[in-house]
C-alpha cells in the first residue's frame, strides 16, 4: 500500500466518523497483548482485524470500545480523543462473539435496552425497535426469549441491539465464530449488504482470512500484538509485506529460498536450467481444479494448483518425475519482514 493512500486514510478518518489508534500498548502482567499499535479506519468503512488467536486483535477491539484501558497510546473516534472516556459514554456498538444476549429479556427488550438507558419515550422506542427488527429480519420474534432463538437469530438480535443506539462505530468481535458453516456464510453476505444500507464505520475481528477478504474493504493483519500490514484484500494477497502475511492470507509454500502461491507454479517434463526436480505423489481431482502433490529432492512437500485442461495436456500421473518452476515468487529478508525481491 502506497504512502499516499495511507495518508489519505488517516486524513479521512480524522475528518469524520473514522477511528484512529495511535501507539497503543496493552500488557496483561508480563504478556504484551498490544505492542505500539497504530491503525486508521476511514469513516463509513468496513474493516477486518485479521490474525491468529493471541495476536491481539480482540484486545485492540476492546481497547477501542473502552472495555480495556490501554497502558499507553490514544484512541480517537471521529477525531475526538476518547482514551479516558468510560465505555458507557463512547457510544460504540459492540457485538460479542457469544452474543451476550440478556437471557431474562425478550428480543424486544434486548434491542430496546440502550434506548431505555437513554431515557427515550415508549412510543419512540417502539418505533425504533420495529425498524431494527425489520432490518435484521426478526419479525414475529419480538416476544421470544434468547434461548428460543437459533444461533444466527441471536447474533442478529445482538447486532440490532448494538445498532439501536445509533453508534458512531460498530465493533464486532468474531461475530460469526460460534456459528456453523452454512449460517456463517449467510450472515457474511448479509452483513455486507447491511453495511451498504447502514453505513456506520465498522470493525470486525476474525481469524478466518476468507471471511475477511469476502466481507471487508480494508484488512488489518495482526500478529504477536503488532500490525503486520493493512490494505485492501487484493493488496494483501498480491503484495504481502512479510512472510507472515504471505502465509496467513491465502495459501503459500516455501520453494527453496522464496515463497510461492500454489497457482503460480509451472510444471514441465523437461528441465530448463531454472527448474527443480520433483516427484508427483498424487494427483487430486477437485472438479475444475486439480491439486498436484509433490515431493522435492530434499524431502520438502508442497502442492500445485492447476486446471483440468492443464493436467490433461501434460498427462500428469502419480509417481512421475517432473520439473517445476515458480512463475512468480517472493523472497523475504532473513527476519521475515521486508520483501527483498519479487521474481
Amino acid at each position: 500500500m502506497s504512502t499516499s493512500a495511507d495518508e489519505f486514510a488517516k486524513v479521512a478518518a480524522k475528518a469524520s466518523g473514522g477511528i484512529n489508534v495511535t501507539g497503543v500498548t496493552k500488557r496483561f502482567g508480563d504478556f504484551v497483548a498490544l505492542d505500539d499499535v497504530s491503525i486508521d479506519v476511514p469513516d463509513g468503512g468496513l474493516t477486518a482485524l485479521l490474525g491468529p488467536s493471541g495476536s491481539g486483535k480482540s484486545t485492540l477491539l476492546r481497547v477501542i470500545a473502552g472495555l480495556e484501558q490501554p497502558d499507553e497510546g490514544q484512541v480517537l473516534i471521529s477525531g475526538e480523543n476518547t482514551t479516558d472516556r468510560r465505555v458507557q459514554d463512547r457510544n460504540v456498538g459492540f457485538v460479542f462473539q457469544h452474543y451476550a444476549a440478556f437471557k431474562h429479556m425478550t428480543v424486544f427488550d434486548n434491542i430496546a435496552f440502550g434506548l431505555k438507558i437513554r431515557g427515550q419515550g415508549t412510543g419512540k422506542i417502539r418505533e425504533r425497535v420495529k425498524q431494527l427488527i425489520e432490518l435484521v429480519h426478526l419479525q414475529g420474534f419480538e416476544k421470544r426469549f434468547p434461548n428460543q432463538l437459533s444461533g444466527g437469530q441471536r447474533q442478529r438480535m445482538a447486532l440490532a441491539r448494538a445498532l439501536a443506539v445509533e453508534p458512531k462505530v460498530l465493533l464486532l468481535d468474531e461475530p460469526f465464530g460460534a456459528l456453523d458453516a452454512k449460517v456463517r456464510q449467510e450472515l457474511r453476505t448479509w452483513l455486507r449488504h447491511l453495511h451498504d444500507d447502514v453505513h456506520v464505520t465498522t470493525i470486525f475481528v476474525t481469524h478466518d482470512q476468507e471471511e475477511a477478504m469476502e466481507v471487508a474493504e480494508q484488512i488489518i493483519v495482526m500478529n504477536d500484538g503488532r500490525v503486520e500490514q493493512s490494505g485492501g484484500p487484493r493488496d494483501l494477497y498480491e503484495d504481502p509485506a512479510s512472510e507472515f502475511v504471505m502465509g496467513f492470507v491465502g495459501p503459500a509454500h516455501r520453494l527453496g529460498e522464496s515463497w510461492v502461491r500454489p497457482h503460480d507454479v509451472e510444471i514441465r517434463h523437461e528441465p530448463n536450467g531454472k527448474t527443480i526436480e520433483a516427484l508427483i505423489d498424487r494427483v487430486v481431482h477437485l472438479g475444475f481444479e486439480v491439486r498436484v502433490e509433490l515431493t522435492l529432492q530434499d524431502g520438502e512437500t508442497f502442492s500445485v494448483q492447476l486446471t483440468r485442461e492443464q493436467v490433461d495436456e501434460l498427462e500428469l500421473k502419480d509417481g512421475q518425475i517432473v520439473f517445476v518452476r515458480p512463475k512468480s515468487s517472493r523472497t523475504f529478508s532473513p527476519d521475515g519482514t521486508v520483501p527483498a525481491t519479487v521474481a
Binding site: L67, R86, V87, Q88, K103, H104, F113, V165
Partner: protein, 286 residues
C-alpha cells in the same frame, strides 16, 4: 440399570426406602399423629395462646430482619468473590463458610462473650441502655450469624456461570454500574438469590442452639417457637410442645416444597441445576 440384576436392585431399593422411612418419613408422620390424636382443639389453643402467638411473632421478626440483611450482604459478597480481585480474597471466601461449621452453641457463646453485659461491645452498649443479650437484638444477631452464608453460596456459582459478557454488553450500550446491576446482573441471578433466601429462611426459622444461649428464655419475651417447643416439653406440657412443633414442621414442609419447585424451575429455565451448594461443592476456588 441393565447391568445390575433385579434381585440386587430390589434389595437395595428396599434397604434405602426402609432406612429413609424409619429415620425421616415415619417420625415426621408421627408428629402429626401425636399432635392431633386428641383432636384439634387442644393444639389450636396452645398455638393461639398469648405465649404461642408471641413466640411465633418473635420467630418471624428474627427471620424478617436476618434474611433481608443477609440477602443484601450475600449478593454484595458474591459479586466481590466472583468479580473483584484483591489479595486475601480466598481467605474471606473460606471464612464465609464458618457459620456452617461452627456449633450453634459455640455461636451463642461467641455472641454472649462480645455482646453480653461483660463483653467489650455489649458493655458500652449496656451503659447506653441498649441491651443485646437476653433481649430481642441478641436473638436477631444469632439468627443473622447462622443464616449468613446461604445466599452467598447459592449466588457465587450462578455468577460464575453467567460470566460478565452481559454486563459488558450493557456498559457498551451506555448503562452505568448501578443500571447494569439492577437491569442485567440481578435479574440473571434471581433464582439463585431466591433459593438462597429459602435456605436461609429455613435455617433462621428453626435455629435453636445459638438462640437458646442468647435468649435467657424469658417466657413471652425472648422465646422463639423452637425455644417454646423445648420449654413446653420440659414443663410436661407435651401437647403444647407438639402444637408448637407442628407449626414449624408445616413451615419446613412448605420450604421443602418451594426448594423443589425452585430447583425444577431453574433447571428447566436455563439448563442449570441449582443444588445445595453447601453440600455438593465445598467452597470452590474462585
Amino acid at each position: 440399570m441393565s447391568v445390575v440384576n433385579p434381585f440386587a436392585r430390589y434389595g437395595m431399593r428396599f434397604a434405602a426406602l426402609l432406612y429413609l422411612g424409619l429415620l425421616l418419613a415415619i417420625p415426621l408422620v408421627m408428629i402429626f399423629v401425636k399432635t392431633f390424636e386428641d383432636g384439634f382443639r387442644e393444639p389450636l389453643e396452645a398455638v393461639t395462646s398469648e405465649e404461642g402467638l408471641h413466640a411465633f411473632y418473635l420467630t418471624l421478626l428474627c427471620v424478617g430482619i436476618a434474611v433481608p440483611l443477609n440477602t443484601i450482604f450475600g449478593v454484595l459478597c458474591a459479586l466481590m468473590i466472583v468479580r473483584d480481585k484483591f489479595p486475601g480474597k480466598s481467605i474471606i471466601n473460606s471464612l464465609i463458610d464458618l457459620p456452617f461449621a461452627v456449633s450453634p452453641v459455640v455461636i451463642g457463646l461467641a455472641l454472649f462473650l462480645v455482646y453480653g453485659v461483660d463483653g467489650f461491645i455489649g458493655g458500652p452498649l449496656d451503659d447506653m441502655g441498649i441491651q443485646i443479650i437476653f433481649s430481642t437484638p441478641g436473638l436477631v444477631l444469632a439468627t443473622i450469624f447462622v443464616s449468613l452464608p446461604f445466599v452467598v453460596r447459592e449466588v457465587v456459582p450462578v455468577l460464575q456461570e453467567i460470566g460478565d459478557d452481559q454486563e459488558q454488553a450493557a456498559s457498551t450500550l451506555g448503562a452505568n454500574a448501578w443500571q447494569t446491576f439492577w437491569r442485567v446482573t440481578l435479574p440473571s441471578i434471581r433464582w439463585g438469590v431466591t433459593y438462597g433466601v429459602v435456605l436461609a429462611s429455613a435455617r433462621a426459622l428453626g435455629e435453636f442452639g445459638a438462640v437458646a444461649v442468647v435468649s435467657g428464655r424469658i417466657s413471652g419475651e425472648t422465646e422463639t417457637l423452637p425455644l417454646l417447643v423445648q420449654n413446653e416439653y420440659d414443663n410436661f406440657n407435651v401437647a403444647g410442645a407438639y402444637a408448637a412443633a407442628i407449626v414449624l414442621a408445616i413451615l419446613a414442609v412448605l420450604i421443602l416444597l418451594s426448594m423443589n419447585l425452585l430447583r425444577r424451575r431453574s433447571s428447566g429455565d436455563e439448563d442449570e441445576e441449582l443444588g445445595l451448594q453447601v453440600v455438593a461443592q465445598p467452597a470452590k476456588e474462585v
